[in-house]
Amino acid sequence: MADTPPTTTDIPSNDTDLSPVGRFLRATEIDTRLLGMIGALMLIWFGFHFYGVIVNGQGFFLTPRNLWNLSVQTSSIGIMATGMVLVIITRNIDLSVGALVGVTAMVMGILQVEILPQYLGLGHGSIWIVTVIVGMTLGATIGAFHGWLIAYRGIPAFIVTLGGLLIWRGCAFLAAGGKTISPVDETFALLGGGPYGAIGSTGSWIVGLLACAGVLWMLYSGRQNRRRHDFRLRPMWAETFLGALGCGVILGSVLLVNAYPWPKGIIRQWAARNDIEVPAEGLFISHGFAIPVLILIVVGILMTILMTRTRFGRYVFAIGGNPEAAALAGINTRWMVLKIFALMGMLAGLAGVVASARLNSATNALGLLDELYVIAAAVIGGTSLAGGVGTIYGAILGALVMQSLQSGMVLIGFDTAIQQIVVGMVLVFAVYLDNLYRSKSK
């Protein structure tokens, strides 16, 4: 049932033979898989934190600062993972996304640092807009080209994108002769986060309250819709619980990001620039949500709508479930594959924006090995490599799991070799768990 969100549950109400937990899950219609992933995430978070407490005398993981950084680090992988879900659902793979991040970031870097200032003037307000549009269009074009080779020329996706991995990484190198392009446009850099690239305390409260309103509205309109069609309603206590849970998580994260203040140096710099006197006890200026995180959230919402509410999303699932049936139902499966790869490419371009903005430079190695993290995120998030099944929120959570592991190991001082070993083992184990889960739920 992970494929499309059920609008109803019409299993006869034999609730009585279920355990209290089972009854609770049925009433709230919470996906057990989602619970499993959140459980795993909590295990990782608390594990790293208390490892720090025990070994180093202080845990660094569950601090506003680390969690805020974690959210920023997750953004670029998370953005791409939402696209990888579509690719994998339709039984394809895209190994080129890391190289696409590299090449789009490099082209954007050259564009905004060396070309556009000549015509628009350094620091012109539209530089970042032109750059982002060019970057995402370039990504979409390359992705569409991959899709064309796969769908219309019959070359397996694995080969096309493996070739793409090498080709586009090479192009990224050639584009700037291996140089690092830096610094990027000032407004562009905000898209990567950092103290200035976050929306502050008030902005975060506004976003949080809007999100809460959105959650409540969705619950309400869902209930109205079910009533209109005489489908089974969730019990009122379950609706209340879901509303409270959703708003609690949102407001909790607002409190969290607002609890992480700007570093002293930044405050001094900012105060000097704005002619503000810093009091002796210092100023507490909250970061608030980082812009890349908001980008990820918007992408996640849009992609979820795309997958669950549009024909396009339907066809993605149908092609994954039975390509032949999809074709017989009149779906132009080749055109769909081309569009899916174009979308993946566009998201890789957007990830390139976030990654290079965060680094404040375009380097040749940007996005190196990202393809593996992106695929791992999608798969850990429940996207089945056999096709036909996957969710956007799962992939984003998967990205968060991968990134938590990664940065947790950095925090407690594991070196790169061990990090790689652990990430590799987690990936294999996650797929094994997924197999177990599926064979049980059948």
């Binding site: 499309t4 069609h229 699932f317």
Partner: protein
């Protein structure tokens, strides 16, 4: 049964070959409104291939298709659907990971004014049609992979019936069914026939052919052996055509 006037469908001189093998070799068949034409023959005789040229799954190498006397081009399943041709494939052609409503409306989803798929409406419509076809059907919210053969079949049939088909192609619709469900399909065919649909029925069970079909076209090795009016021949005659590939002397 006498058929006068323009046939609903006429497939004229259709040929298609795969890798040098002529799967369908200059076959001409026709179908009138309110008529059931059985397509018979051994496995590999070319029945399914012929029918796939009409449903748009294959493109014929040669030959024409006429609908109500007008020549039409059917290059893909969308073209066929646009001509009100619906097909129930032998494989059922269901996306196993989707639920009944998603399969029923696959490729023709109901969208609301904002262009979003109206899932609740589709489910409500699915409940209606399934209630008519298979009142016992209850599993609306599980992927069709979780359904029994008969339930899957009824989803495939519902898909063909829901969209007001004028021409219905059924490729062994009862192969996976028990006796009761087979009877249900038989009744459905009678009902659709009364509504004026033309039905091509691929069927192996000679008793079903004798019971359900008005005419039978027999194929062997890609060629048409002949077409007979079912009430003018015996089942042995038809079996003879299938096995020996020789037309019966109808005048006798």
């Amino acid at each position: 049964m006498t058929n006068t006037g323009t046939p609903l469908v006429e497939m004229r001189d259709v040929s298609i070959s795969f890798g040098g093998i002529k799967a369908v070799d200059h076959v001409t068949v026709d179908l009138h409104a309110g008529e059931v034409v059985g397509l018979l023959g051994h496995n590999g005789a070319g029945k399914s291939t012929l029918i796939k040229c009409l449903s748009g799954a294959y493109q014929a190498d040669a030959g024409e298709v006429y609908i109500n006397g007008e020549k039409v081009e059917i290059n893909n399943p969308r073209d066929a659907r646009a001509q009100n041709i619906e097909t129930i494939y032998q494989t059922l052609a269901l996306a196993d990971n989707l639920d009944a409503a998603s399969n029923l409306f696959l490729g023709r989803e109901i969208v609301n004014s904002m262009g979003f798929v109206d899932e609740a409406k589709m489910e409500a419509e699915t409940r209606k049609i399934m209630h008519r076809l298979n009142p016992n059907f209850q599993k609306f919210n599980v992927p069709v992979s979780a359904l029994s053969g008969g339930q899957r079949q009824s989803v495939a049939i519902a898909r063909a019936v829901y969209f007001n088909a004028k021409i219905l192609i059924m490729d062994e619709p009862t192969a996976a069914l028990g006796p009761q469900e087979t009877q249900m399909v038989a009744e459905l065919i009678e009902e659709l026939k009364k509504q004026g649909l033309g039905i091509f029925l691929i069927e192996h069970d000679i008793h079903n052919v004798m019971k359900l079909c008005d005419r039978a076209s027999v194929m062997k090795n890609g060629k048409l052996v002949g077409t007979v009016n079912v009430d003018e021949v015996t089942d042995e005659d038809i079996l003879g055509m299938i096995i020996l590939g020789k037309p019966v002397a109808q005048a006798a």
